[in-house]
């Protein structure tokens, strides 16, 4: 199977309407290492788009370029209608970024941190309303180190929402969380999308991508290997005659776990 690294949706760079992100011929080198090797893809508005790939595939570099944190060597990158290479600072106003290790100033409580982040965007926000959205109102007066893993990730998403972003970048948001907390976070992602935002998600969990993502791009060695809805990719593999040694039953151990321990969140 070979999929062109060019997006199939028309001539690149001409039409950006209806797309939250347009990437065309993006290339990035670190010395002799080619981290991103001329990739092109488009993310539709209100889509949950998954960026998959093993470590070192070029996901992080790609995302960081989209976020305006790194410069590209070649190619076009349009995020929310803004040319990122021309105006990286402007992009930061319309996107929200949740990072893997989300540590903050330890001395401030959640409300104060949200106010501070809002101030960085030149905004004032109803911090309590944002906490309500991520179900953290009870922890409003706590500091981040006192939160559980799932709460930390939810708070990290809250900080990424202070500027009402059009596009939200989530970087491995459920790594290290228990099954209940993961499902809770998936619901949060869905609800954010329902508000009309686009989500770009990087993850190593294929079940997560399968559940959440409308489309995924599979990257390796700086190239996009495939870009389709998860079901289409699975069907394609099956069509090639692939079959598992062991036939999947209609439930797995995680279902057992959740059946026994319930879907309720386990947080103090």
């Amino acid at each position: 199977m070979s999929v062109s690294t060019r997006s199939s949706e028309g001539v690149p760079g001409t039409e950006t309407h209806g797309f939250a992100i347009v990437v065309d011929g993006l290339r990035k080198r670190y010395g002799t290492l080619i981290a991103v090797d001329g990739i092109s893809f488009r993310v539709k508005e209100r889509e949950i788009f998954g960026l998959l790939g093993p470590n070192g595939a070029g996901k992080t570099t790609t995302v960081e370029i989209l976020e305006g944190l790194r410069s590209a060597d070649e190619g076009h990158v349009i995020v929310a209608g803004i040319d990122v290479r021309k105006d990286p600072e402007k992009v930061k106003n319309v996107i929200g970024v949740q990072l893997q290790s989300s540590a903050f100033f330890d001395g401030l409580n959640l409300l104060e941190l949200l106010d501070m982040f809002a101030a960085l965007y030149g905004r004032t926000v109803d911090a309590m309303a944002i906490l309500r959205k991520v179900d953290l109102t009870e922890k409003a007066g706590s500091t981040v180190p006192k939160l559980s893993g799932g709460q930390k990730q939810r708070f990290s998403i809250a900080t990424a929402l202070v500027n009402e972003p059009q596009i939200l970048f989530l970087d491995e948001p459920t790594t290290g969380l228990d099954p209940q907390a993961r499902r809770n976070l998936w619901e949060l992602a869905e609800s954010i999308r329902t508000e009309g935002r686009t989500i770009v998600l990087t993850t190593h969990y294929m079940d997560e991508a399968e559940t959440l993502c409308d489309r995924v791009a599979v990257m390796d060695h700086g190239k996009v290997l495939a870009m389709e809805p998860p079901d289409a990719l699975i069907q394609r593999l099956l069509d090639k005659g692939f079959h598992k040694e062991r036939v999947e039953r209609s439930a797995n151990l995680e279902d057992v776990f959740l059946d026994m321990t319930g879907h309720g969140l386990r947080e103090s």
Partner: protein, 353 residues
């Protein structure tokens, strides 16, 4: 807003605030106590009386009358032993025939402590001169009339407190910045901030204000403790002290940023920061006057940033100097500030690459 947040965050970290004050206070306490009440220097002179007559007795009693002399008497062997142990600065031997033919007083002195021995020799010389005139019945051609003038009685504490203030300025600047920034880098906090439209200069401004507020508070606390507990004589202007402290603090903040930029982890940052701070601490006249150093070292260390800062603080607090009077030190401070800022902008990186 960012500044306010960072101030709040910083001062809620009570442990760090406590320790940033504790260490200078502890050092001040230790050094202050060691030297307390020992403000008038004295030399130890041993006398070996081999005559045991009227003449030698008179010499000994008049030597005892000299305020700066601690007089010890003993046998030649025991006094020489004390000299070798460093307990005497000079040992004078009064021969058996003194005043009856023999005029030579032999003096042994301690080479290991040249400063004190020189004082001891000068005292003995003066004493011998005066005694000779008296024996010969000559009125000296010149005499020196001394008139005491009331002056502030400067103690070691008066030297030490400005030095401690300078030291705490350096420590806060270097270590406060190095550790937090390296940590923020490692924990991704800087990256998270960079993903917002935060202006870099606002960020540095907030950090600068936070740290310099700390520096100003440290100056005041050290000053108050010095005044209350150690009878520090402060003759200067607090505002000048704060101005010098804050500008000086800027040097070490910038150095701290440069170090945290050049190092990837706390494990590398700490030794580098120590490598900078330890020599500065001991070579900049913080605990002891640089005049005890060999001349070449004095020449080198007079250009140290901490020397400029501590000298300036000392001039202000001891001599009540104006900013104009310490313009030389201020020039040095500003040059260092420039150098450190250039280094910081060159070396500082936002990410752990």
């Amino acid at each position: 807003m960012l500044t306010w947040s960072s101030l709040k965050a910083y001062f809620r970290n009570r442990g760090a605030i406590f320790f940033s004050l504790l260490v200078p206070l502890m050092i001040m306490g230790i050094f202050g106590l060691i030297n307390f009440g020992n403000s008038t220097p004295s030399v130890n002179i041993g006398v070996v009386d081999q005559a045991h007559d009227q003449v030698s007795g008179r010499i000994i009693s008049s030597l005892q009358g000299i305020k700066a002399v601690k007089l010890h008497t003993g046998s030649l062997d025991s006094e020489k032993h004390e000299l070798q142990q460093g307990n005497r600065d000079l040992v004078a031997v009064l021969p058996a025939s003194i005043g009856r033919g023999s005029t030579a007083i032999t003096a042994y002195y301690n080479q290991g402590n040249p400063q004190n021995s020189q004082v001891a020799i000068a005292i003995m010389n003066q004493f011998v001169d005066r005694a000779s005139f008296a024996f010969a019945g000559i009125t000296p051609a010149l005499t020196l009339d001394t008139t005491p003038v009331q002056s502030r009685n400067l103690t070691y504490v008066d030297f030490l407190v400005p030095g401690m203030i300078a030291l705490s300025i350096m420590q806060t600047g270097l270590f406060g910045v190095v550790f937090t920034f390296v940590q923020w880098k490692q924990r991704g906090i800087l990256r998270r901030l960079m993903a917002t439209p935060m202006r870099v200069r606002d960020f540095f401004f907030s950090q600068l204000v936070t740290r310099l507020t700390t520096v100003a508070l440290q100056i005041i606390v050290l000053l108050v403790v010095g005044l209350l507990l150690f009878h520090f004589h402060f003759a200067g202007n607090l505002l000048y002290l704060l101005i010098v402290g804050i500008i000086g603090g800027g040097i070490f903040l910038a150095m701290g940023l440069a170090i945290s930029g050049a190092s990837k982890s706390e494990e590398t940052a700490a030794p580098i920061a120590n490598l900078v701070s330890l020599p500065l601490m001991f070579l900049s006249g913080i605990f002891f006057s640089r005049s005890n150093m060999p001349e070449w070292l004095q020449t080198v260390t007079q250009y140290s940033p901490l020397t400029y800062v501590s000298d300036a603080l000392r001039s202000i607090s001891i001599d009540g100097a104006s900013l104009w009077a310490i313009r030389g030190d201020l020039l040095g401070i500003f040059i260092w500030l420039g150098v450190a800022v250039v280094l910081a902008t060159r070396l500082f990186k936002w990410e752990v690459v």
